[in-house]
């Protein structure tokens, strides 16, 4: 049996461009995020708040405590986390959209409130707009993934990027304007 390699080794492999390592780490993070989300649900439906930053930090602590010593300030870690968050949330949105269109949505004890179309559409539209942004501006697209999907705060992103918080906020404003313009079909520059 192969022992589980420490995540630090995976991150080293990622830096070396190992795509296999990327998919392994992605799958691990993906699963962890869903487990954490379920934990939040179990802890109480009343006043449910899911702070995305908390999800990322819980996952970070778990990995860190598991012996992954140098994850801190790893842009790779946050990239993978944010991409996993994006994937999980879009999977949920698409799953609900398919259920809605197929008429197979069944209410469960936890599911009395069926999500409205706005949530579904907004997520799918942001994802589509973010793909357009990535084609134009990789830096701003990474900022959106970290902040919007990964829940990283501006101060954390500023530290990771070696920028001041004001710059990160202004870049977020620019990225958000791009996304909203694309979402509203006003992309006249296409």
């Amino acid at each position: 049996m192969t022992e589980r390699p420490p995540l630090t080794h995976l991150l080293d492999a990622l830096r070396g461009g190992d795509r296999g390592a990327q998919s392994q780490l992605f799958a691990l993070v993906y699963d962890e995020l869903k487990r954490i989300a379920r934990g939040h649900l179990r802890r109480g439906r009343q006043g449910l708040t899911v702070n995305p930053s908390t999800l990322v930090h819980e996952a970070f602590l778990k990995f860190h405590n598991a012996g992954s010593g140098n994850l801190q300030n790893s842009a790779h870690f946050y990239n993978v986390m944010a991409q996993a968050m994006r994937q999980v949330l879009l999977d949920l949105a698409r799953h609900h959209a398919a259920e809605r269109h197929g008429g197979a949505l069944v209410r469960t004890e936890l599911g009395d409130e069926i999500p409205d179309d706005l949530s579904l559409d907004t997520l799918l539209e942001v994802d589509d707009a973010l793909t357009k942004l990535a084609a134009c501006d990789a830096d701003l697209a990474q900022l959106v993934e970290w902040h919007f999907f990964g829940g990283l705060q501006f101060t954390e992103i500023a530290a990771l990027r070696g920028q001041n918080e004001r710059t990160v906020r202004r870049h977020w404003d620019m990225a958000r304007a791009f996304l909203l313009k694309a979402m509203h079909g006003a992309d006249a520059g296409a």
Binding site: R35, L48, P52, M85
Partner: protein, 90 residues
């Protein structure tokens, strides 16, 4: 939007967002007159910016009703139960 067009817009947009609203007109007036599209797109981006803090709540907050429905999370999870991803136990 084409990448080259965005790269042309970007420094102007950054300047425009860095000043008070009242100071924007002079910046817009300094744009190359021949590039009508540049001004139209910058004005559209400013309108989106000024419209409010939409998206600031983040994806998880927007998706809260989806997560709150619970059963889909469980179903998505169920698809992976028992699987082995590389050397990892799930």
């Amino acid at each position: 939007m084409q990448p080259a067009h965005w790269q042309r817009l970007k420094p102007w947009l950054e300047r425009l967002l860095d000043v008070e609203v009242g100071a924007r007109a002079s910046i817009l007036d300094a744009l190359p007159k021949v590039d009508r599209e540049l001004r139209v797109d910058l004005e559209a981006l400013l309108r989106e910016h000024d419209a409010g803090a939409s998206l600031d709540q983040g994806a998880v907050a927007i998706a809260a009703p989806l997560i709150d429905a619970g059963h889909s999370t469980a179903e998505l999870e169920g698809e992976r139960v028992g699987q082995q991803i590389g050397p990892y136990r799930l």
